[in-house]
Symmetry: C2
């Protein structure tokens, strides 16, 4: 488990990722942006005008149990695979009812009722994923999840999102935006 990594996603005119489309699932949209830059830790900010910045930090496992963590580790692949030129950034904010639940209640909704971890497992190793926590940074979203996959796995990725969004856990989502991207190296 590496130490927390602060990551800033800058929507604007710069960066290797071109925005294909923004889809608003619930709540307010983000301002329009043509490109996206991912800034890790103390790396320099991208040049040019920035339409929005979202920040989050990687961190320890919040719900995943050991047997699940080992299964995930055995199957998942890292970011920046050469063939994974498609990406999605999905910022989510959950409502007060979610954050007022105790740990056992949130775990029950997330996995016993919604199979969040199990559904994600079905799409490994095709879909690589990194979760960033934003809530305690005073950010407008609670989580920023970043996904990378090869173009031929887009239908599988779409299916995964559809299955997750049909679960009870999503009753607690009050804002969700999906930004689809393609990598275009300058």
């Amino acid at each position: 488990m590496p130490p927390p990594l602060m990551v800033r996603f800058h929507g604007g005119e710069a960066g290797p990722w071109r925005v294909l489309r923004q889809r608003v699932l619930s709540g307010a949209p983000l301002p329009e942006a043509r490109r996206l830059a991912v800034q890790e830790a103390a790396a320099p900010s991208p040049p040019g005008p920035i339409a929005w910045t979202l920040a989050g930090s990687t961190g320890n496992l919040r719900y995943t149990e050991r047997i699940e963590a080992d299964s995930l580790a055995a199957r998942q692949e890292g970011l920046a695979r050469p063939q994974a030129v498609h990406a999605a950034l999905i910022p989510i904010r959950k409502n007060e009812a979610w954050w007022s639940l105790a740990q056992d209640e949130r775990r029950a909704v997330l996995e016993a009722q919604s199979r969040h971890i199990a559904i994600g497992m079905d799409y490994l190793p095709a879909v690589a994923r990194r979760l960033h926590h934003s809530r305690e940074l005073g950010e407008p979203f609670d989580f920023l999840t970043w996904f990378e996959y090869a173009p031929e796995h887009e239908p599988a990725f779409d299916e995964m999102l559809g299955r997750l969004r049909a679960q009870r856990e999503w009753d607690f989502v009050e804002r969700e935006v999906e930004i689809r991207l393609v990598r275009e190296l300058g």
Copy 2:
């Protein structure tokens, strides 16, 4: 559950809390400070020289289950009680072994093996407490716990700390500093 509150603890020459003593349990000490100011959210910073600032954010329950949360809520009292003129700030950093554990493993150490929640319950309502998370803010400590109690409950507070520090959970603590304070209104 109120939204996360960002709190900055400033050790220096200002603030209503006079430092009685610093005790280093493990790791490096903090620089000497005569007084402490607690800055919540966007409140102004204290005047004068500052020896150190530690920041953390309140947040949702990480380990506490519903039955425990209800027992705590029925017994605990809030901060700023007039008689609770003694306080302690205890910043803690846990080691990489702790942060590499899965959620069920950390919960097992914290409660099944170490009775962290149950021990704290024994000292309610005498000791009021607020936990601040710092790890994902890039801070030198992972947690900042703030305690307030009346002078006659200091022996009970000392006993609580002794019991907690004797548990297996504390094998994972790599830095711990304890700052005892007394409130002196200007």
